[in-house]
């Protein structure tokens, strides 16, 4: 397609749109690197939703009350829905769900490392809702204003549902804390396991996060990792107090001067190890996704064949 407008001018328009905090739409001109970054980030987010169905999903069958079973099944179903909107957002840039699924299964694209930790008790359903979905919300609410239109609009809906998920998790923990001693111990044990991985969800410290600066200039990212981590800690502390649980960090304390909490650093060696594939569940999560994809291949082929036959029949 020939264009009457020269590239420098298009680039200037693009920059002005981002500066005005307006949306970039799929048919707008955009730098190739921007397009690539959006696809990578949205795909990674979509994969996280889909892989994130697994740790909680395996507890649906063991939910200890029918009401909890309904809540959990509906929640995990929502995650599938989020994956669906996000894959649709990447389709507006000409990248299909099949291509991205292939990238996920072959390990060329990542998903949130948090899902490489196991869910070991029913309390984990609550903790994942409270801390993991809570951290996700901190990361995601600013993305409602991200510069790429389809992503930003998908995020508005996703954030509403995620905040609901977070609240169901908190409510489950609150209920369990009112129960037996065993239940209270189960909650504390679960919080102990998830606290540090939840802090890691904001990504490496700013001085070790190579993509942050460019993503912020493009309006894809709107806050740094450390800023978001601090907000998350400050918001979680009073919630833990209300629940009656503690976080496993001896350095966690209120700093009057900064009007914020000081806190310890997660084990970043562990973080990189898990990112690189050595977490407790990396192989299991991908194998599960691959199995579902392989087992369903004949169904997707049959649906395509059926659609083709219908087309011929009505032509």
């Amino acid at each position: 397609m020939s264009s009457a407008v020269a590239e420098p001018e298009l680039a200037a328009q693009f920059d002005a749109t981002v500066r005005r905090k307006d949306r970039i739409e799929p048919r707008d001109w955009m730098p190739d690197a921007y397009r690539k970054t959006v696809v990578r980030q949205v795909a990674q987010h979509a994969h996280s939703e889909i892989i994130g169905m697994q740790p909680e999903g395996q507890w649906i069958g063991r939910a200890p009350s029918l009401r909890r079973k309904a809540i959990l099944l509906a929640k995990v179903q929502d995650e599938a829905g989020h994956g669906l909107y996000l894959y649709s957002a990447t389709e507006t840039l000409g990248v299909s769900r099949d291509e991205l699924t292939e990238m996920l299964i072959s390990g060329r694209q990542k998903y949130s490392s948090i899902f490489n930790y196991p869910a070991l008790s029913y309390a984990d359903v609550g903790t994942i809702g409270w801390l993991v979905d809570g951290a996700a919300i901190c990361n995601q609410v600013p993305l409602c204003r991200t510069s790429f239109g389809p992503y930003g609009r998908a995020m508005i809906r996703i954030c509403k549902e995620e905040s609901f998920h977070q609240r169901q998790g908190f409510e489950l923990l609150m209920t369990m804390m009112r129960g037996t001693d065993e239940q209270r111990a189960m909650v504390q044990e679960s919080v102990n396991r998830f606290w540090w991985p939840a802090l890691m969800m904001f990504g490496p410290p700013d001085d070790a996060s190579p993509n942050t600066e460019q993503s912020m200039a493009w309006g894809i990212k709107t806050h740094t990792n450390d800023e978001l981590r601090q907000r998350f800690v400050d918001m979680s502390v009073p919630q833990a107090k209300a629940l009656g649980v503690t976080f496993p960090d001896p350095d966690l304390k209120w700093n009057e001067e900064r009007q914020a909490h000081d806190f310890g650093q997660p084990d970043w060696d562990e973080f990189w190890d898990v990112v690189k594939g050595n977490g407790p569940c990396n192989a299991q999560r991908i194998a599960h996704r691959k199995q579902a994809c392989d087992d369903g291949a004949w169904v997707r082929e049959a649906a395509m064949a059926f659609a083709e036959k219908q087309k011929v029949a009505t032509a």
């Binding site: 889909i50 697994q54 999903g57 649906i60 069958g61 063991r62 200890p64 009350s65 029918l66 009401r67 079973k69 309904a70 809540i71 099944l73 509906a74 995990v76 179903q77 599938a80 829905g81 994956g83 669906l84 894959y87 029913y122 809570g134 919300i137 901190c138 609410v141 600013p142 204003r145 995620e162 905040s163 609901f164 977070q166 609240r167 409510e171 489950l172 369990m176 009112r178 129960g179 037996t180 065993e182 239940q183 907000r231 400050d234 918001m235 009073p238 919630q239 107090k241 209300a242 599960h288 579902a292 087992d295 369903g296 004949w298 169904v299 082929e301 049959a302 649906a303 064949a305 059926f306």
Partner: protein
């Protein structure tokens, strides 16, 4: 209420604002609620309360066990759309199970297993999680393993067709509670039958492999459908779906179950009940 520290007002606060506020605007309520709360559960004159209760228990068990099976598809379906659709069917059936188990418990409390003194476990959960396999009244059809997607589609088609036909009749049952459960269920089951019917046609006409799998899967469930009761209307609907799809009714004789469950139910319950049974005094 503890004070929540917040940063200057910006878009972050909205997502967290309500977390420590106990409001009632939850899809499933903030506390345990009897699914029949506020409903008059008096058994009408002339109806045997025990019979009504065991009937509701049978219908509730069918829904509960099939829901448990279908939820096994979660994160494993052939595509995201089917993952979501199967979860919808499972959720609808779970909703039916809750109402029917609660109805059974209200009509005849003696059916509810005894739990330790002071246990907060509500009657619907006592029935679901604290009965043994032999006390479940569901048809064998719903407890069989899922098999592949084609087998699951065939089972939903058979089950939803029979149950829809039955629920349509139950909308004039003398018990007002059962009548209301049936009226709600009719809408849900219409969707389940439609979902399965569309996939049945798609797999029948799709590829050689999908047709072969559909026929094999249907043969396995077909032999158990007589347990759902005699129903000419349901049979007629199934005949039409098969005819439209160009699939012959499987040439299989009804399996003699002797009124007993298959080997699969005990294992299904072992998974479903494990956490609840570890905490008979627990609140969830």
């Amino acid at each position: 209420m503890p004070e929540i520290h917040t940063h200057e007002a910006d878009e972050h606060d909205s997502a967290y604002a309500g977390l420590l506020v106990n409001d009632a605007h939850w899809a499933f309520g903030t506390d345990f609620e009897d699914p029949l709360a506020g409903v008059d559960t008096t058994v009408p004159e002339g109806i045997d309360a025990h019979e009504l209760a065991t009937y509701c228990l049978r219908l509730g068990d069918d829904a509960l066990i099939l829901s448990q099976r279908l939820s096994e598809w979660c994160s494993r379906a052939p595509d995201l759309e089917e993952d979501i659709a199967l979860a919808n069917v499972a959720l609808d059936l779970l909703g039916q199970a809750r109402l029917l188990l609660a109805r059974a418990a209200a009509a005849d409390p003696s059916l509810v297993p005894a739990l330790p003194e002071g246990s907060p476990v509500p009657p619907e959960d006592a029935l679901a999680f604290f009965r043994d396999d032999r006390e479940f009244r569901n048809a064998c059809l719903v407890e069989l393993p899922n098999g592949d997607f084609a087998e699951t589609v065939g089972r939903i088609l058979v089950f939803a067709t029979y149950r829809l036909s039955l629920f349509q009749r139950l909308t004039s049952h003398p018990d007002a509670v059962l009548r209301a459960v049936a009226a709600k269920g009719v809408k849900e089951l219409t969707y389940h039958r439609d979902f399965a019917g569309r996939w049945f046609l798609t797999l029948a006409r799709g590829s050689d492999e999908s047709r072969r799998r559909l026929e094999a899967g249907l043969a396995r469930t077909w032999a158990y459908r007589h347990e759902l009761g005699e129903d000419d209307e349901a049979e007629l609907v199934l005949e039409q779906v098969l005819a439209t799809s160009g699939i012959a009714a499987p040439d299989v004789r009804p399996i003699s179950t002797g009124g007993r469950h298959t080997e699969h139910l005990s294992r299904l319950l072992a998974e479903m009940q494990v956490v609840a049974r570890q905490h008979p005094m627990g609140v969830w």
